[in-house]
Amino acid sequence: MEVTLNHILFLSTALFFIGVYGFLTRRNVITMLMAIELLLNSVNINFIAFNKYLYADKLDGVFFTLFLIAIAAAEAAVAIAIIINIYRNYKSIDVDDVDTLKW
């Protein structure tokens, strides 16, 4: 069976929604961060797929993906640093516990 663009888009969309679902339901902050990685990866897949199937003459999508991977790493680094701080202050990394700021 040939893999068409549609298949790949189906995959990336599924990944996207899995990521969203994960972000909305996981209580552990680290897991939520991982869900975000899923989201970003679905975007990456999109870019690559579009580039390969539709606009193979230019490399816009590929470049975008490369930058995206780098930024995702930077973001994760800062996020993990902050999460460590959360753990220090709250002795927990459960997102439900971190709700002193409200109303």
């Binding site: 969203v20 972000f23 909305l24 339901t25 939520m32 997102v95 439900d96 971190v98 709700d99 002193t100 700021l101 409200k102 109303w103």
Partner: protein
């Protein structure tokens, strides 16, 4: 123009005196204020007499008819072309007569007050107010413009308010002043609306133009007769409303309730304002517009006649039961004004038909003299015994000889006993009534008997009956000359005023009218009067049980009359109970709770909504993300609905 200036000076002198005394009187002119006021008024009085002479005998008559002369006309306020308030002075027979009466009586009162009010703390203020009143009254009678008359109408009202409330630390005086002002204000509302109606119809406010347009066949008159509202033509409405104003000022039934209470003011004030001058302003007003009443709206004139007759009788009945001497006089004033009113009501325009008009003015003139005299006399009595109540008096004839004599003259005059002044004027009135309306004539005849009765009841109660003793009163005696001289002068006039050939000067159309005393006709009224006097003599000359038994005999009728037929109570009920509770209170309540409450409610609602949605900001990150995601879906929906 020098003559004109003299006329302008007549009201101006009191005004100057008012300003001078009002601004500086209290501090600097306390001692001399009486003199200043009196002198300025003396000036006015002399000028008025001069003007009267000049008008009646020199300049006034053109082709045998007294023409109105406009001495001054200065636009004061403009509304639309032709409709403007002009401050002017119109000289015609009735205004000339009025300025003479006003300045003369006022002068008497000024002189009298020098003695009567001596030592009063607010002496200067008193004279300032008197001057203000005189100025306003002169302005009123000289008005050439119906709106001008309204302006001065209000000013005399407020002077009356200030003077009634002169003893302002007495709650009763304050209440009386307030009542007088408000009741007349209420009547003035009618006057004002009447002016609006008339001026809109006639397209002018100027008296001469107004009368001309509404008495001849003009488009204005046509318009006013053909437009109608609730069954009356707008002309009738206008005139009736104007008459309502006049009725208020002249204390006609049922707007009379303020007059008896107004006696709370100093007695000279009552003499001036509430007997001789201001209260006849209503009569004067009707007389001013008389051609319109008589020619174009006889229906309105009928109303005037019946209201006058009813008031005359009604007041006379009440006067028979009152015990406060000033109140008796007040009701008698009301009754006499009723005479003047119905005299106008039964009059026609021009020639013989205008007899009532002339009679009314004549009575106004004579009444001013003897009623002022009565009040000043009563003032002297009150000054002597320090009380208003008949019970506290008696047997004063030897102690106050001058007062006694003049008071008796006045009583005879008001009762219509020849040859005193009242006889002549009343005679004319009865003649006019007899010719036009028998019912009114009957009422008038009966009332004249009642008049004689209650006046002599008063007279006997004061000067006869029991004996009066008081060390204090003996000490200060009958009163200073300043009080007695006006009594004597007025007494002389009460005798002589009837001989003035009035019908030569003041008539409805300005032409001379020949009148003569018809002996046969006079018999009935004089008999009625004498009967009244005799009954009073029988009942009150000395103390006895008969009056009380008689009162019992009349039972509830007597009680009704004693309580002024409960008119005051009706008013109180309407104002205090109905208007306060059904209009005022709800208005305040609505404002507090509904209008204001609405504003507060919207504020509270906002606050509450804010509280309700508070939980949205739950502090949970995942819920935030959920909302984020939901919002995207929402936007998609919006887009789908918009996008085609």
């Amino acid at each position: 123009m020098t003559g004109d200036f003299k006329i302008i000076l007549i009201p101006l002198l009191p005004l100057l005196s008012f300003l001078l005394l009002g601004l500086f009187g209290r501090k600097y002119l306390r001692e001399s204020s009486g003199l200043i006021g009196t002198l300025s008024l003396l000036g006015s009085a002399l000028l008025s007499v001069f003007t009267a002479y000049n008008y009646f005998f020199v300049t006034g008559k053109v082709n045998g008819i007294y023409q109105p002369l406009v001495v001054l006309q200065q636009t004061w306020l403009e509304f639309s072309p032709g409709v403007s308030i002009d401050m002017g002075m119109m000289i015609d027979p009735i205004s000339v007569m009025m300025i003479v009466i006003v300045t003369f009586v006022s002068l008497m009162v000024h002189v009298y007050s020098l003695g009567y009010m001596k030592g009063e703390e607010r002496f200067a203020t008193y004279y300032a107010f008197l001057s203000l009143f005189t100025f306003s009254m002169l302005g009123l009678v000289l008005s050439s413009n119906i709106f001008q008359i309204y302006i001065f109408w209000e000013l005399v009202g407020v002077s009356s308010y200030l003077l009634i409330g002169f003893y302002f630390d007495r709650p009763s005086a304050v209440a009386a002043a307030k009542k007088a002002f408000i009741v007349t204000r209420f009547a003035d509302l009618g006057f004002l609306i009447g002016i609006l109606v008339l001026s809109f119809g006639a397209e002018t406010l100027d008296f001469r133009t107004l009368i001309e347009r509404l008495t001849t066949a003009t488009p204005q008159l046509h318009g006013m007769i053909t437009t109608s509202f609730l069954g009356f033509s707008s002309l009738t409405w206008g005139l009736l409303l104007v008459f309502a104003g006049g009725a208020g000022k002249s204390a006609m039934f049922p707007l009379h309730i303020w007059l008896p209470d107004a006696m709370e003011g100093p007695t000279p004030v009552s003499a001036l304002i509430h007997a001789a001058t201001m209260v006849v302003a209503g009569v004067y007003l009707v007389a001013r517009l008389f051609p319109v009443f008589a020619i174009s709206a006889p229906g309105a004139l009928h109303v005037v006649g019946y209201v006058g007759a009813l008031s005359a009788l009604f007041a006379a009945v009440i006067a028979c039961t009152q015990t406060d001497i000033k109140r008796v006089l007040a009701y008698s004033t009301m009754s006499q004004i009723g005479y003047m009113m119905f005299a106008l009501g039964v009059s026609g325009y021009g020639g013989e038909h205008g007899l009532g008009y002339m009679a009314s003015m004549f009575h106004l003139f004579t009444h001013a003299m003897f009623k002022a005299l009565l009040f000043l006399g009563a003032g002297a009595v009150i000054h002597y015994v320090h009380s208003n109540e008949m019970e506290d008096m008696g047997g004063l004839r030897s102690k106050m000889p001058v007062t006694h004599l003049t008071f008796l003259i006045a009583c005879l005059a008001i009762s219509g006993i020849p040859p005193f002044a009242g006889f002549f004027s009343k005679e004319e009135i009865l003649t006019a009534a007899f010719e036009h309306n028998k019912l009114i004539y009957g009422i008038a005849l009966f009332t004249s008997g009642l008049t004689a009765f209650y006046m002599f009841r008063l007279y006997f109660n004061i000067f006869w009956q029991k004996d009066f003793h008081s060390e204090l009163s003996d000490h200060h005696g009958e009163g200073p000359w300043s009080m007695l001289v006006p009594l004597i002068i007025l007494g002389a006039l009460a005798v002589g005023a009837g001989f003035v050939p009035f019908s030569h000067f003041v008539t409805s159309d300005g032409k001379e009218l020949e009148t003569s005393v018809n002996i046969v006709f006079s018999v009935a009224p004089v008999l009625f009067a004498l009967t009244g006097i005799l009954i009073a003599l029988r009942l009150y000359k000395s103390e006895n049980e008969t009056p009380a038994r008689l009162a019992n005999g009349f039972g509830s009728f007597y009680q009704g009359a004693l309580h002024k037929f409960y008119i005051d109570e009706v008013y109180l009920f309407i104002t205090k109970k109905l208007i306060f509770n059904l209009v005022g209170r709800p208005s305040a309540w609505i404002d507090k709770n509904i209008v204001d409450g609405g504003v507060n409610l919207s504020a509270d609602l906002t606050e509450d909504t804010s509280g309700l949605i508070r939980n949205w900001q739950s502090g949970n990150l995942q819920q935030y993300a959920m909302w984020f995601f939901a919002a995207i879906i929402g936007l998609v929906m919006v887009f789908m609905s918009v996008w085609k």
